[in-house]
């Protein structure tokens, strides 16, 4: 195999991983992007009025990825960094579950928005696996 064939193989293998599932009026898009706890990232595409919405379906906040989104300062700095970088919006539903999402009126912008939201979810789920130092641990005196 020459390098171009290998690249074609990579491209085909990668694009073969995309899947979809119809979920009511939304389409679940299962992306080829995986978290460090080995979960493929899903996003949900729907049309609301004239806008297209791409959301995480509330999965980050409700624990579907089997990680708890932390409240430590270190973690929140990372969360806000990614949220600001990708301009991710958030809203809570009636049950208090936070949804992270992006919206656009132009269908041509959807791939870019989907990519940003996917990377956001991938990063936040992966970072949520890190055990940050807690207050008690920080307050302990160093052993001499």
């Amino acid at each position: 195999m020459n390098l171009l064939e290998i690249f074609t193989d990579i491209k085909n293998a990668f694009s073969g991983l995309w899947q979809t599932k119809q979920r009511g009026n939304s389409l679940e898009i299962i992306t080829p992007y995986a978290t460090t706890n080995n979960r493929f990232v899903s996003v949900f595409l729907s049309k609301q009025g004239d806008d297209y919405v791409i959301s995480d379906g509330g999965w980050l906040n409700s624990g579907v990825y089997e990680v708890a989104v932390g409240e430590e300062t270190c973690f929140l700095k990372i969360l806000y960094h990614f949220q600001n970088s990708f301009e991710i919006k958030q809203i809570a539903n009636a049950e208090g579950i936070t949804y992270y999402y992006l919206k656009t009126a132009n269908a041509i912008d959807i791939p870019s928005k989907l990519f940003d939201l996917t990377l956001f979810i991938q990063n936040i789920v992966s970072v949520s696996e890190i055990a940050f130092e807690d207050k008690e641990e920080k307050a302990k005196p160093l052993m001499s």
Binding site: M1, D9, G24, N25, N38, Y99
Partner: protein
Amino acid sequence: MKLAENWWDEMRNPITGFKVGSHKSNTRLKDDDFPEIKIMSDTLGFKMTKEDPNQNITFL
């Protein structure tokens, strides 16, 4: 990485004819060497997989 879906193991590259992921670097590895990657909606119950997560929310 080893994927969770069986169909993936049978996929063939239309150009090379090789099974996808069957290149030499994989042949000396055991299945246990690869983590399985889960599709989370496959792990949800019937009701959950029928629900539209974006319904009943007005995205501002």
